[in-house]
């Protein structure tokens, strides 16, 4: 029993130290963010590298997610003769949950891992130490632009994901299943609320998810052990931790934004 309590104590201590360390790192990143934005070319390059390069994955995934949603919803709605509500169903499920969450999970797998392994390999090959010896702070020059790029890219990618997913739903619902085109769009227009379903769900959630994933990715890369195994473990931790963080934050944000608790 005593052994078990001691183990729990050390696990809790490790967890709290990790949270403290990542919070301090976040403050450091935020402190350097204004000056990093002045060197917009570097940030722009990173937005291209992590955001634009993820575009095809996000678009293709969005298309299939929208198509599946429409197909599943149609077969349920048709039983109640309520296929006119298909547009609403697809749009709300995409905008409120699937869009932000699936985009964030895909981004963590595609770009989060790339950020971690890139920074980790730079450490392992002494490129970061080389930079420090040239009197250049690697946090300002390497980490902050990547953090900003990730945090900016996720909201943009989420919007694209949602748009493509709704088009995929339209294709399956209207073109393949024969749902009325007017009903599809007009029902969606009436039932989708700008503040609740777009600003709160898509925009706020995706900004928080983007910040969280980018923070975890750059933190894991920067503090990875400078060995092949160290970088590989850090990359795995990025996927696991950012996926869990996205799902936990999703619950937290949904509770706070829509249910006031």
């Amino acid at each position: 029993m005593r052994f078990l309590l001691r183990e729990i104590y050390y696990i809790a201590l490790d967890f709290l130290q990790g949270v403290g360390s990542i919070c301090l790192f976040l403050f450091r990143l935020l402190r350097y963010t204004p000056t990093a934005l002045l060197r917009w070319r570097i940030v722009w390059q990173q937005i291209y590298s992590v955001g634009a390069m993820s575009l095809v994955l996000i678009m293709v995934s969005g298309l299939f997610v929208g198509m599946v949603m429409a197909l599943e919803s149609y077969h349920v709605l048709v039983k109640f003769a309520a296929t006119a509500a298909l547009g609403t169903g697809v749009a709300l499920s995409i905008l409120r949950e699937l869009g932000p969450v699936v985009t964030a999970l895909l981004f963590a797998g595609r770009a989060g891992t790339a950020l971690t392994s890139e920074i980790g390999l730079m450490r392992a090959t002494e490129q970061l130490a080389g930079m420090e010896m040239m009197a250049v702070d690697p946090v300002r020059r390497i980490v902050v632009p990547r953090f900003i790029a990730g945090a900016v890219s996720v909201p943009l990618l989420t919007m694209i994901f949602c748009a493509i997913a709704i088009l995929g739903g339209y294709y399956v619902g209207v073109d393949l299943m024969g749902v009325d085109q007017g009903a599809f769009w007009s029902q969606m227009r009436v039932n989708v609320d700008l503040v609740d379903d777009i600003l709160k769900s898509v925009v706020i959630k995706s900004i928080v998810f983007g910040g969280a994933i980018s923070l975890i990715a750059v933190y894991e890369g920067y503090y990875s052990l400078p060995t092949a195994e160290g970088v590989s473990r850090a990359t795995t931790r990025t996927v696991v931790n950012s996926s869990l963080a996205v799902l936990a934050l999703d619950y937290l944000l949904t509770a706070l934004l829509f249910h006031g608790a």
């Binding site: 002494e126 490129q127 130490a129 080389g130 010896m133 009197a135 250049v136 020059r141």
Partner: protein, 275 residues
């Protein structure tokens, strides 16, 4: 020694009473080292004696547990991060593997410190980069990627990058390791030529006795966290100490035994048979 004295000292680096531990192992135990200005000073010793760590201590990458480290009259331990970076602008550091940015061309690698620390227009940066690459004989390789370079070429590019800001001190971490004889000769020549023509102070960490002796003005031999010998290559060559003789001549046995400490050989064999 007062700060005032150090500022006017002929020594670029002064280390006194340095103590540094990693875990339970003492890497340095009251180590004293002085690096004279304008000279090439070598720090030699067997693998694992902390030669690279000593370079890291001098450049503020690692802080000493005890003792004082003065570089250009400044106590490294007392500097803020901005002051340390200001001091590092006067330093060049050649890493063992070059530490080139793998996603940038040779040209971009050498231009990096200029772009970060100066506001020179692009045409002037181009001139400076080409001059530095010319100095190391690699102007023609400006558009190559680091992956396309041999080990010797990568180190020469790293050297061009290290001197891009015209530093006062340059640190070489194992500059001869893994090089073919021609590349080694080129690096030896470059260290001497750059030191003399640019008025640098060079500090080389290495265990390649022959190459270091051919280029250095003074050498420190360190072992077990202490300075074992100091002098010109000739003085070290004729040093009476058995340890120094073994190291300088590369003898397999001597004060540093061939065998790692182990239990009695016969006893262990017999013990194994009985088991």
């Amino acid at each position: 020694m007062a700060i005032h004295d150090l500022k006017h000292s002929d020594n670029v680096v002064e280390i006194t009473g340095l103590k540094y531990r990693v875990g339970n192992k003492a890497i340095f135990d009251r180590l004293n080292v002085s690096i004279p200005r304008g000279k090439i000073t070598a720090i030699m010793g067997p693998s694992g004696t902390g030669k690279t760590t000593l370079l890291r201590v001098m450049t503020g990458q690692v802080l000493a547990d005890r003792g004082r480290v003065w570089v250009e009259g400044k106590n490294i331990a007392r500097l803020s991060i901005d002051e340390l970076y200001d001091l590092r602008k006067q330093m060049g550091f050649l890493f063992q593997n070059g530490a080139l940015f793998t996603d940038n061309t040779v040209y971009e690698n050498v231009a990096f410190p200029l772009r970060e620390h100066t506001k020179l227009p692009e045409n002037l940066i181009r001139h400076v980069v080409l001059m530095k690459l010319q100095a190391v004989g690699l102007r023609g390789a400006a558009n190559l990627m680091p992956a396309e370079l041999s080990g010797g070429m990568a180190r020469r590019v790293a050297l061009a990058r290290a001197i891009a800001l015209d530093p006062k001190i340059i640190f070489y971490d194992e500059p001869f390791t893994g090089l073919d004889p021609i590349s080694m000769g080129v690096i030896v020549r470059l260290i001497r030529v750059l030191n003399d023509s640019l008025g640098l102070t060079s500090i080389i960490v290495s265990h390649d006795v022959e190459e270091v002796s051919s280029v250095s003005d003074h050498s420190y031999l360190i072992s077990d966290g202490k300075v074992v010998a100091y002098g010109t290559p000739e003085e070290l060559e004729h040093n009476k100490s058995a340890w120094v003789r073994q190291f300088m001549k590369g003898l397999a046995d001597g004060p540093v035994p061939f065998h790692y400490p182990a239990p009695d050989y016969a006893g262990q064999l017999l013990g194994e048979e009985q088991a």
